[in-house]
Subunit: 450 residues, 2 copies
């Protein structure tokens, strides 16, 4: 199998002039399968592998992860060469600069990919952990055991590093995974997936624990989304368009990440220097991340003092400031915010600013216009902090900290497979723990129900 895949990858690399986005037949070993059959076969193998993986020891899982990292390290040149072919095809098709940047692998990026896998190996393993254990009147002892979800389908854009990251976090959490990367990265992904397989072959973990959908035919995605018997959850990683499309088509549950319309509320009586440094960080740390602040809410009691500070601090960053009516009376040169500004995720150097009466108006604004992602209060008052934390209905509520911290590594989760804006199962950054669930373990002594 390994050899077959190697040959397929090599021949595909050589053949990169073909339009990989549509040419499903380029892959020798799936030429005789239609996309549905191919994905169903992957599903069956994944389900079987998941049963072994679910009870694999932490030691075996970690050994497999280290073996995978070693393979990636050894085959750097091969990966870079496949990636160069992907990049050449992408440039020929005039793909835009951000996509090319995400597609490109460099020795440094490969190094950080294998380091990431070693870090996942070093993380603690939640599978098998027991909790509860209360004895009931019947005599039964009721406990819970943490177990993997089963089989995870990960659908992502053309970012080949996700192939390795997603495989590692799924393996660690005891889940089999079926990966489907963007068509522009197919050659890179095939070599990376082959390294993963090679690593698994030298381990006690079944090689089918990580499988790549080996065709760029889009029908394969549709099949994956509806394969309830073989896939337990779908995780889409990409822009809102991808996530929305997948959520609409999926029969399998989806861990979604939609908008990040994040707010910072600057409370009356707070330390305005702190508020300023947090606000600037929340906006300018990186404009493109989901935890970036999009709207600044300012208590009317501090607006007169604070808005000029915001104005001056954002100027060197060339952040466009769009203010509410009250803002404009204090900062007449700002742009007037339109209704849609309050529900726009700019992901760029634009900030909407609104003066609010108090913490209650701030909470109401966030619950109405926000996306339930990450919102912060800057305050010195314990009661208003408590009200904000309790009442803001977001996956992360921060006190005196910048919204751009919304990230699995910063939360101590280790590797992150995404951020969930779902309410059920897992909210916020999703790490290894978020890919597990619990079952009841009930112990009696010949106990019968009367």
């Amino acid at each position: 199998m390994n050899e077959t895949l190697n040959r397929a990858a090599a021949s595909a690399v050589a053949d990169a002039v073909a339009d990989v986005a549509t040419d499903a037949d380029a892959v020798a070993n799936v030429a005789d399968l239609n996309p549905q059959q191919h994905v169903k076969a992957l599903g069956e193998r994944a389900r079987t592998a998941s049963q072994v993986l679910a009870v694999a020891s932490t030691r075996d899982k970690n050994a497999a992860l280290v073996a995978i990292a070693d393979c990636l390290d050894k085959r750097v040149d091969e990966i870079l060469s496949a990636n160069a072919q992907d990049m050449a095809s992408a440039r020929e098709r005039d793909l835009d600069a951000p996509l090319l940047d995400r597609l490109e692998l460099t020795p440094a990026r490969l190094q950080s990919m294998s380091t990431g896998i070693r870090n996942v190996a070093a993380q603690s393993d939640p599978v098998g952990a027991m909790s509860g254990g209360d004895r009931q009147p019947s005599g039964l002892v009721i406990a819970k055991m943490r177990v993997p979800l089963g089989v995870i389908g990960v659908i992502y854009e053309s970012r080949p590093n996700v192939t390795a990251d997603a495989a590692a976090i799924c393996l660690k959490s005891g889940n089999a995974v079926i990966l489907r990367g963007g068509s522009e990265s197919i050659l890179s992904n095939r070599v990376i997936a082959d390294c993963i397989r090679q690593g698994l072959e030298s381990s006690a973990i079944p090689t089918d624990a990580v499988q790549l959908i080996n065709t760029t035919n889009r029908d394969a995605v549709g099949a994956l989304l509806r394969m309830e018997d073989y896939v337990d959850v779908i995780i889409p990683r990409g822009g809102k368009g991808l996530v929305t499309r997948i959520s609409e088509d999926a029969r399998v549950p989806v861990i979604k990440h939609l908008d990040g319309i994040c707010h910072v509320y600057v409370d009356e009586g707070c330390d305005l220097d702190m508020a300023l440094s947090v606000s600037v960080n929340a906006k300018t740390y990186r404009y493109g991340i989901c935890g970036s602040m999009e709207t600044l809410l300012v208590s009317q009691k501090v607006a007169e003092a604070f808005l000029p500070m915001v104005n001056d601090a954002m100027a060197p960053h060339e952040v466009e400031l769009r203010g509410c009516e009250q803002c404009l009376t204090l900062q007449p040169h700002w742009t007037a915010a339109m209704d849609e500004d309050w529900s726009t995720e700019y992901l760029g150097p634009v900030l909407s600013v609104k003066v609010v009466a108090d913490v209650n108006e701030a909470i109401a604004h966030i619950n109405h216009f926000g996306s339930g992602h990450t919102d912060a209060i800057i305050t010195a008052d314990i009661q208003r902090s408590e009200a904000f934390v309790r009442q803001v209905d977001s996956s992360s509520v921060l006190v005196n900290a910048a919204t751009c911290f919304a990230d699995g590594a910063e939360y101590g989760l280790g590797a992150e497979i995404g951020i969930s804006t779902n309410r059920m199962h897992v909210r916020g950054p999703v790490g290894v723990l978020g890919l597990t669930t619990e079952k009841y373990v009930v112990t009696g002594n010949g106990t019968i129900r009367s």
Copy 2:
């Protein structure tokens, strides 16, 4: 509002000769709304109420529950009279005996309904509980707070007691709820829902926290299932047909309960008297419950001794025994089990019996033919017990106890809104805790990301 509903209910009771299953216009206050508009209006009000309810104090929620129970106690005659009308219509339409039994309310059943609500009030409240709190290298303290899911839609068959049960458990967990009962129970449900509203009116909880879909038009269900903006989760309570249909149509996440194909495995070397008493209890405690044993697996090392014991013990219960080939060599008068027997939920006095080589074959059989609901091992061996518990992929795995214990009250959850065969979010019996989720609460001190 209360008065309007009262009038509507009274007029509807008087008008019970109309075919309530199709006559959406019978309800005065929804006469000018189509089902979609009616359900959307309920959704908007539920969402608003859910924001108040999510931060309501335990004291206020409990007071509301007690007030509701008091109202139900006071209006027993009115409820029984509406129920008598529902029963009369159902009999006219020749509905079958089990449905009539589920539809019927008696003074004793009403008493247990209000006692159930008082019991929910007495349970502990998980909302607001904090966990975690580790400090990260950045200085941030990362904790989680337990919060309600939001708005829950409960769709159930014509069992009016569910109206009260579901309302109580949703209220206690801080969730607003939209109830849709079977059309045969509409008059009973309207009076019960009005008691709930009356109880809420005397409390600090918004009356829109519990709403009944006030039409039997089926388009209302379709609208509820797709109302992602206003409904966070759908819980269907009923047979597999109802649950499957709802799961297929829903855009909102569904907490499903599908098959309960439950097994008991009798291990070599176990106490056969214990195995027998547990097996008989698992099969005969109540045939119709989801935790009832459908297949008995017996180690070949004890089959010769154990099968005659099973034969004799099941005889007085008139349980039909369907055996595998090996069974039939030992018990030639048993029926031969067909392939489909291994994946059939009989819900009646039938039991399939299979001799297996060892615990590994038992586990493989359960993971292949079972439904991931509740499965038990009877054993004296710690290693085989451990293997069974770890490897059987079911929401409940029992050791030396009968499968018929699969139930929220027996697990110490208090009230139960159903049993989940989902893998994500919650597995097994779902109580108040299962209707909550967690959000991150992140505390800094002006912390910024560098």
